[in-house]
Amino acid sequence: MLAADLLVAQNIGFGIIALLMVVGALRVVTVNNVVHAALWLVVVLSGAAAQYLLLSAEFVAITQVLVYVGAVMVLFLFGTMLTRARIGAENDLNNKNWKIAIPVSLLMLGVMSWVIVDGFRDEKLIENPGEMSQVPIQLISDDIFGPYLLPFWALSFVLLVAVIGAIVLARKD
């Protein structure tokens, strides 16, 4: 196997970012301060954007940063600040039976990892790393406005309904 086929730099980058993402995700679900959880979520979402760049999906990575890190996080922080008087650590963020969730998620993780490892083993993502080029945005738009036009319409309608629904729900009267 040639050294170029191993993509050492990409693998090191993947490992560091993946570690950051997993630590951040664990902090999101264990920390007992809602604002801190939102900030750890920023770490996870930015790490996801970096992984998308490693997968040569630039447009999705930029959209991720714009929509998630930019808009969704602001929504979360607003939601946090509008639904509680004080901002700080709290002790009752977990359910009474939260311990049951640990074996459930571990079981799911075990089954999923077994299936993935059994199914893909050491199959490489791309046979020829030199061929891995960035995805032209033109192809994505051809895809959206070609074979996937109907889902795009449905999505536009969903966004419209979501905007109207959010206004109706949050209006004071």
Binding site: L7, Q10, A18, M21, V22, A25, L26, V28, V29, V34, A37, L41, L45, A48, Q51, Y52, L54, L55, S56, F59, V60, T63, Q64, V67, Y68, F76, F78, L82, T83, D92, N94, N95, W98, I100, A101, I102, V104, S105, M108, L109, M112, S113, I116, F120, D122, K124, L125, I126, I140, D143, I144, Y148, P151, L155, V158, L159, A162, A166, L169, A170
Partner: protein
């Protein structure tokens, strides 16, 4: 890069998100855990997009990002409404529809 490494990262994030949905009481925290789940799905879609040499996965990932934005908007509006009516967003207290 192996296919399995991206899929395994997606699986780990998915399971952490499921744990968050099950274990958290605060409605905003549950919404954050749902974001984790959606992101892990996106990671899988993009990995398969590269693996099959097609852009369909990128298109689906963009659709999922849009759906997630709509979901957070409506979800937080509902959380605000519940907070306004009941002064709490603890999901344990919302048990009227329990059988």
């Amino acid at each position: 890069m192996l296919t399995a490494q991206f899929l395994l990262l997606g699986a780990v994030l998915f399971c952490i998100g499921v744990y968050g949905v099950l274990a958290r009481k605060n409605a905003v925290m549950v919404l954050m855990s749902i974001e984790l789940i959606l992101n892990s799905v996106n990671l899988n879609l993009l990995a398969f997009s590269v693996r099959h040499g097609s852009v369909d996965g990128n298109t689906f990932a963009l659709y999922i990002i849009a759906i997630a934005a709509a979901e957070v908007g409506v979800g937080l509006a509902m959380v605000l409404l519940i907070y306004r009516n009941r002064r709490t967003i603890a999901l344990d207290d919302l048990s009227e529809m329990k059988g």
